[in-house]
Amino acid sequence: MDEMDARHQDFELLKRFVHDGEQAAFADVLRRHLDLVFGTALRKIEDPGAAREVAQNVFIALARKAWRFAPDDSIPAWLHKTTLLESKAWLRGELRRRRREETAAQLGTTMKTPDEQPTFNALVPLLDEALLSLRETDRTALLLRYYERQSLREVGAAFGVSEDTAQKRVERALEKLSQFFQRRGFRTASVAATGAALKSTAASVPAETATAVMHSVLHASPPALTGLTASMARAAALSKAQTAAVCIAVAIVPVAWQWNRAHNAKKEMAALQVKLGELRTQQDESLAETERLRKESRRLETMAARTAATNAKQQEAARKLETLKARSRALLAADNYRWPNDVPFVRIPKSALSSITMAGGPNIPAKLEVKLRLLLDLSASEQETTGQVFSNYFSGIDRFLETSLYQTNQGMSVKPAPGADSKVFVLLPMGGKIRGALDQLCTDLSGTLGEERWAMVRPDTFEFFHYEQNRLLGYTEFAWERTQEVVVNIFTNAGEPTVSWNESSGSGSSPMPLRLFLANHATPFMGLSQGPPALMDGVTRWLTAEAAARLLTPVTK
């Protein structure tokens, strides 16, 4: 036997026996382990003949089950265990009682136990039970070392380890065996005693017994396996890793297929969910839009119904209006015109327009604008143009007033009162500017309306200019072309702020309390009636501000 792995040797030999029917290979296995089997059986049965029979049965079982072994299986361990089982079975047989006495007598011949070693004798009956309690590797190490009498080097080779490692493994196994006994009350079961027990119970098979067993086994061993049995044998011969690999290989396809189904279903579901989500979003948007359109449609239908009703009314109203227009046209064209009592309109001769003025005040531009709108049948564009002409006139007058009115502390023709806080308001001559603006207004209106219509509404120029200048500058004609001044004096009279003023025209006011000019005074001051309105409006505004500043703000001096 070379140093190659003993396990693999057993496996290879069994493989050749199983697949090729090579009995020599099985005979090698038998020879390698017969001592172990026979010795073990002999220990249990204590009858060499029965031990031989048991050994035969064990090896026949090995031959039958040889296809089941894998390279990493321990044949010695299997043989030891099987032998013990077979031995127990045999002992349970009918011959047990009969053989017990003979066995007792023969023990002294077959298992000579030295008297000087009584310690391990007590261990022998439990020795196989102790071996079975060990892990397979430990048990195999002890079986090889003691019952097959292999060297430590051979034991190491069987496990694929070095000699030193094999020795350590054997020692460790012995230690565990010793502990087994010690746990059961064998206080003297030392490692040495345990080793001696093993050594002493090893047996050598007699040559004739070996020959007989081999013959019987080989005769009863099954033929080489073929077909399905061979395949099963091959499968059984796989190592754990190979078995695992084969199982995984066998299982992975259906599992992978199902996983793929599940995965695809999940993936498709996810895609479907996305699509569903998009569709739901689209549907929600469409529903919202549809609802909005429904509401809009209902609103428009309501409006359409209302409009239809309005249209019906419009048509009815249009008929009435047309009747009214026809009546009005008839009024305009009538030769025998009479004051109409059935309509709120009358016709007036264009020849009378020049005799008409607007009631409620003098004939000034503002009144003229109203007259044009009332009495002339102006088109929309003419109304817009004449409106712009009047707007230009009034904004021009406002600009004249802004540039012609100012305040100063020293007047030309009026003097501040001594000891008073005084302010001089000056209005530069404006008569010419106003007449110029009025001329321009008349020219523009004449251009817009045409000479014929302008002649119908043109005001008396003298009266028109006169009233407008009065409105702005007052009723003293001589003042229109002169600079006008007003000096306003604020002084204290009997402890009360008092105001008086004098105009350049010579008129003036008697002193009056400044408080009259407070905006919230019980009887608010209505304005200054004398003097040019444009000038006196400025004076009134200034006095109102002064009254508020002097009378409402606390004085801090």
């Binding site: 279903a265 498709e268 009479r338 709120p344 009358v346 005799s355 003025t357």
Partner: protein
């Protein structure tokens, strides 16, 4: 044995995994089929909703188009239309009269010789209703044209004015007071106010006129008459009318002051102005129809040379 257990363990695990995965896959397939069914239903619903939406959108567009058309063709201002349908146009407010006139459109309110005006508008204007004295009872052409007073109506109205003036003249001659001379003032005539007389006289006058031309025109005519009489006859009866003849220091001729006075206001000129043939105070023409000549003859003063010249 161990290999068998290992194989069994692996195969059992594989079988359990297979079953679990199979169940998962089956459930996934079922959910997938349910989802696909949902998808089909949802798609069908969406198609229906979108179809409905398209129909509605088209309908809304059509309604909007019709609405725009309706709005663009609504020719009459709604408030005017409503008024025309529910009211008597004779009772239209001033604003509504103007709105109705505006509906006539450009050129619809005038002809070559006439212009249409609302009756309410006639209340906002004024015009001289009577000619200047001594023809003070005669209606002007303007007022006859504006109020459409026929010749027959004019005769009745003018007769009413003539009668009223006669009464006023009689009253004024009875009530006029004379003062002077005093200083530079030769004489002062005062026709004192008598509001009760004036009120009664005016009411009677326009009652007669109403009977002749109707209330509507009579009220308009009264408005024009009262607005103008302050400048025409000094509103005799309503105001105190004064005429003073003065010597003007340093000048050969005479001057006069005249006008009406009422409470704190007056229109009497401050400085005497020269006596001119064509400027005689209107109120006093009722008492002195001969004007300055009659006054000069009564008071015994000479008029300026220009009174003797031929016009």
């Amino acid at each position: 044995m161990k290999r068998l257990l290992l194989a069994m363990a692996i195969l059992t695990t594989a079988a359990v995994s297979f079953v679990a995965l199979s169940n998962t896959a089956t459930r996934g397939q079922l959910r997938l089929r349910a989802g696909q069914s949902d998808l089909r239903k949802l798609t069908q619903q969406l198609v229906q909703v979108q179809a409905e939406r398209s129909v509605l959108a088209a309908k809304v567009r059509e309604l909007q188009r019709e609405r725009r058309f309706d709005l663009s063709t609504a020719s009459i201002e709604p408030v005017v239309a409503e008024f025309l349908l529910t009211n008597d146009i004779k009772r239209a407010s001033p604003e509504m009269q103007d709105k109705m006139l505006a509906q006539f459109g450009p050129g619809g309110k005038s002809s070559a010789n006439y212009v249409l005006v609302s009756k309410a508008g006639l209340k906002t204007i004024t015009l001289k209703p009577l000619k200047t004295l001594p023809d003070g009872q005669t209606l002007t052409d303007a007022v006859r044209g504006v109020l459409a007073i026929t010749p027959e109506e004019a005769r009745a109205v003018e007769a009413a004015f003539a009668h009223a003036f006669e009464n006023i003249i009689t009253w004024a001659k009875a009530m006029v007071q004379r003062e002077g001379p005093s200083g530079e003032m030769l004489v002062r005539y005062t026709i004192p106010p008598d509001p009760a007389f004036e009120q009664a006289s005016t009411e009677k006058l326009f009652s007669t006129i109403s009977a002749a031309i109707g209330d509507e025109r009579a009220q308009l005519l009264r408005g024009y008459f009262e607005y103008n009489r302050y400048s025409e006859d000094g509103a005799i009866g309503n105001r105190a009318n004064i005429l003073e003849i003065h010597r003007i220091s340093g000048q050969p001729g005479l001057g006069y002051r005249s006008g009406w006075k009422w409470e704190d206001s007056e229109t009497i000129n401050t400085y005497p102005e020269p006596i001119k043939p064509n400027k005689f105070p209107a109120a006093f023409r009722l008492i002195f129809p001969g004007g300055w000549q009659e006054v000069a003859q009564r008071e015994g003063f000479d008029l300026p040379e220009e009174f003797t010249r031929k016009p």
